[in-house]
Subunit: 229 residues, 2 copies
């Protein structure tokens, strides 16, 4: 992927709704996040404030603030007097994260079955169907994005802000790994099959089943990505 670093475009408006001024901080944070996830900034790379700021067309002050924010999210590491470096995750780190993610999604599954409205479930079904379509066509990138969306959406159904937060942090940390990991056809098929089970269980509001499938799905996720780590 390795795009070249492009200056940050400061979009003036967020579209419809109340006219909200540019929030440079947020823009910078997500921009840097993407750069890390997509590999423009690979693990171990030092985040050079002067250079990076110049490339993005931003002064050091807001850049530093964004870096501190990302540090708290765990994407970069702050070394006193030596700046920030992109955090490197070991295989064990990834496995640990998946273990926690598994537990969180199991919980999310249970809560979702209790709290979700039919309409919300229907939306996820739509995402799922679209994802399957992408799978059949072999569109990996869109598949990947829809996959993430579905998992996040199920967590949203649980209507538990803390759960969504924790899940989001881990999901973000893992994005880079998943972004790289390219499982073979048979494993991909298995993943899709698990997703199918998920949707069925959700529509049936079968707590135990949904929780079980989500857990199994993430256990298998480890098998799928372990080679890439």
């Amino acid at each position: 992927m390795m795009n070249e670093i492009t200056p940050l475009e400061r979009r003036a408006d967020g579209g419809p709704g109340p006219i909200r001024r540019t929030a440079l901080h947020d823009t910078l944070v997500s921009h840097l996040r993407d750069m890390i996830i997509e590999g423009d900034l690979s693990p171990g790379t030092r985040l050079h404030e002067g250079q990076l700021g110049e490339q993005l067309g931003v002064s050091r002050t807001p850049l530093r603030e964004a870096i501190k924010y990302l540090a708290s999210e765990g994407l970069v590491e702050l070394v006193p007097s030596r700046g920030a470096v992109v955090k490197r995750f070991s295989a064990k780190d990834v496995h640990d994260m998946l273990t926690v993610l598994q537990t969180l999604e199991e919980l999310a599954g249970k809560l979702a079955c209790e709290a979700a409205s039919d309409a919300a479930i229907a939306e996820i079904r739509a995402l799922h169907d679209e994802m399957v379509r992408r799978y059949k066509v072999g569109d990996r990138l869109q598949y990947y994005k829809l996959n993430q969306q579905i998992h996040s959406a199920i967590v949203q159904l649980a209507e538990n802000a803390a759960l969504a937060d924790m899940h989001g942090v881990l999901q973000t940390r893992l994005k880079r790994i998943r972004f790289i990991g390219h499982e073979g056809p048979e494993k991909w098929a298995a993943a899709v099959a698990e997703h199918d089970e998920m949707i069925v269980a959700l529509e049936a509001r079968d707590k135990a089943k949904l929780s079980e499938v989500l857990g199994r799905h993430l256990m298998n996720a480890w098998e799928r990505v372990r080679a890439s780590v």
Copy 2:
């Protein structure tokens, strides 16, 4: 508690080990954290950069960086063009956090039984005994601190960095609530009893039992603090 705000003392050394220079950022972050937890900055309060910086004896720049860091931790909220305010947690928020914390500690319990060394368990036993001593004397503050330490220590035993991270974030967010919550004698006794069960289960390395007790303990925690929220 409401201490008056005191200038930040810049400690020169962290004790033994390699002589490390003052890390103002870290100091500021934990100082602000403490101020929020202990109620010097109550929920809804705007964090006035000029004023606060002057009181702490620090310029606005590092202060802003620390605030951004805390924002990512979820202790303060950033409002565009209007600075940062201390986040206010609703009863549902607290309940949600405890739900997630429960799940995480259940997981920690299972992992801890597998991974912990005898020595590590002995250390927790020591903390526990000390805590019980404090309970018998009625020393609430020390009891509270040791209580937190024990929970964190058990999570540490699991040797899962991601788990420890997520647990730490939630623990921090809840600290303020727990700091306030003063349960009555009978509930306090029940909590101590649960801790007793925990230690016994841990020493027996009884995964199921430890996990169950930890879960129950946190369910009850909600009963103990719900009045304070």
